[in-house]
Symmetry: C2
Subunit: 394 residues, 2 copies
DNA sequence: CTTATTGTTAACTGACTTGCCAATCACCCG
DNA sequence: CGGGTGATTGGCAAGTCAGTTAACAATAAG
């Protein structure tokens, strides 16, 4: 909005962008609706829609009826105008969980294909693996290559978008400098990379409890570790080199500096949960099993309380720094804890933290990282379409 | 930029806004300069400038010379088009420091008047006190009332802009609900309120070490307490109810929950510094004197090291959550510590925090809160002017 | 058949651009 | 030292582009 100047061509570009933007967030709109939304006159709306349909970005999807006069045409973004692909990469877990899940959606967000596969990245190059996954997704959905304009990657690590390098990543091969541009080159698309927890927060924003919030801090608790994503009014805070939210390494203060190296990971990481479970006699061979068992067993109250206290330690620091309108507990462990854990954490926070924050548990049952990656990719595709219209006409 | 639609009137409004914006950040520009900056044609620039000068917002301040051709006219924003006032309110310190400092600047940021006074808010109503201070500022600068369009307040507390209420404030009378709208009503101007530390960060962004940074976290260390301001690309993070950065109350983890109620304030607050100084035999009756003495005395290395360790505890949490590109130490205590303290904190952080962040000390010698309040007020005034042009023409 | 609604066509307006021109100043060469 | 040369400034006129208002034909509900 500031410092934007230009001629009448800019005006048309803006108006077309605005109309497309309204049709993208997924609206089935008549000309009259668009007139209300954009405050443009009827002839202009007609012209804009004519151009957008000519460009193949918008189609007539139906006709209004039941009202006097001619049946108004209903317009919507053409689902097949562009597609976004998303791939979530993780280390092969102890449980043998799939190391790669991918999905492909059309412009409206409808999932057209989905893949899970186990790839051993010790033996496969990330680039070839990803190209293969995306090719398979395209084949499954029957989509031509040139229509997939963006591929979104989710990894358990921090992404430095300036250096285009993934840091702190465990999956072999993904930490190599220059990998991301190579992947983009090989795929022939834009490639976005983000932290898995950040992507889960994107999903939470669009589909979960974060929908209405001004912002939220999402604490991700999984068997492997913990992470934090910070949503401020819909945009994620990534930090200087993508390191924001890496609270697993947050050192904890020890009054007497005898044991210095305690960090939050030692407190609520998988190993810590397992140990805490053993101390309290909660059965389970994995952290997830332990929490699941404890949540179902009313006798495990002490375990839950202790775990909640530990979680509150980390959250208290986050709340003191950020004062988020909402705190979301997400990730497998948090979901396993469910309402029981939520209540305990809420109680612990009220005792520990000075500011009162609302706490909630994810409402996303599906793979939040993958969904978030789809949402992020879709956002990028839509943004690119809008920008292309804005620039092509300039 | 997104979802902005309109007719040619919008276009002109945008172009005028853009030109004014360029002239405001303080530029002395010729028509040719504006042509380059806005990519508009000569006749358009002429028309825009004609309108802006007619409105009294822009004036010819000189003529170019030394180049072939006619001497180009140099335009600049009219300093007297609008003024901003700023008032920093604090509790009466033990040292009897002035409880209110105020300043008034013109549209270019030049300070036209400055006041310091000691007001006992136990006996004076905040509203009448502020009205008086602003009136005195106007009188001193010889500025008509209607030209002062914005008054910026700085207080040691958190401001909930939604509820228009100041929380966690020590100065008597300022915590009352409805006070801020009343003040605005009485002054007949817009009134902005912000945390003093946030305002110091604004000053740091415009005049200090934060000028070039993508963002920074500013840790404010004063005799009264500590605070944190978070600058992300030039905008401050305020949190849900203005509580972001209230890290004084951040609880610290105690492994054995024997002494639970330790928070950061207990570690690096004024009382803590005083006590730490006594432990290490550093002379001084106030925290400031202690730090000042220690910074000058090479024998006080242990005190400085301990203090730095404690500061690093808080900063480590901040860095883990935010990963700021830069950390700024500010406030009286930090300035007293100077380079000595900076080196110690840098060292302590490298040992404690996983991510490496650059640390710096303020370069602002003057009253950072007041300057920041002026900057913030000026920003509001400029924004209002630009918006007014954008809307008046619509 | 009336009436409300849709969408098109025509005339007009506002704002920016290109192209042309006069005026002015620096610089250089005679 | 003075006049020519050339770059630069800023104004004016004509043309273009996009959006608005107004009038109108067409269509479906009641």
């Amino acid at each position: 909005m500031p410092r934007l100047a230009g001629s009448s061509k800019l005006l048309r570009a803006m108006n077309e962008s605005a109309a497309l933007a309204h049709l993208l967030e997924p609206g089935m709109l008549t000309r009259a609706d668009l007139r209300r939304l954009t405050a443009l006159s009827t002839p202009t709306i007609s012209e804009v829609l004519r151009r957008l349909t000519d460009a193949g970005l918008v189609t007539v999807v139906g006709h209004n009826s039941g009202r006097p006069g001619p049946n108004a045409e209903i317009y919507a973004a053409n689902p097949d105008a562009a597609y976004a692909a998303a791939v979530s990469v993780r280390d092969i877990g102890a449980s043998g969980a799939p190391s790669v899940v991918g999905a492909l959606c059309d412009l409206t967000g409808a999932v057209r294909a989905r893949i899970e596969s186990r790839i051993d990245f010790l033996r496969t190059d990330p680039k070839t693996a990803l190209v293969e996954v995306v090719a398979e997704l395209r084949a499954k959905a029957g989509v031509p290559a040139e229509r997939v304009s963006h591929v979104q990657l989710g990894v358990a690590g921090s992404y430095d978008s300036g250096a285009e390098t993934i840091h702190h990543v465990d999956v072999p091969g993904f930490g190599r400098a220059g990998l991301v541009p190579e992947i983009a080159e090989a795929l022939g698309t834009h490639v976005g990379v983000d932290n898995d927890v950040n992507l889960a927060a994107v999903a939470e924003r669009r589909r979960g409890v974060g929908r209405q919030a001004d912002g939220f801090a999402l604490l991700w608790l999984s068997q492997e570790g913990l992470g934090l994503a910070i949503d401020i009014g819909g945009t994620l805070l990534r930090g200087a080199r993508g390191g924001a939210g890496e609270i697993g390494y947050m050192p904890l203060y020890a009054p007497d500096s005898t044991h210095r190296k305690v960090d939050l990971q030692d407190l609520v990481g998988g190993a810590a949960i397992l140990a805490l479970g053993q101390d309290h006699g909660v059965a389970g061979r994995t952290p997830l099993e332990v929490v699941l068992a404890a949540a179902a067993d009313p006798g495990a109250g002490e375990f839950i309380a202790q775990l909640a206290d530990r979680i509150a330690v980390g959250l208290a620091a986050v709340i003191a720094v950020l004062d988020p309108p909402l705190v979301v507990l997400a990730g497998p462990v948090a979901q396993a804890g469910g309402q029981t854990l939520l209540d305990a954490v809420t109680g612990a926070l009220h005792r520990a933290a000075p500011l009162e924050s609302t706490v909630a548990v994810t409402t996303i049952d599906d793979d939040a990282v993958l969904l978030g990656a789809l949402d992020a990719g879709l956002g990028a595709v839509r943004g690119a379409l809008i920008a292309a219209i804005r620039d092509n006409q300039a």
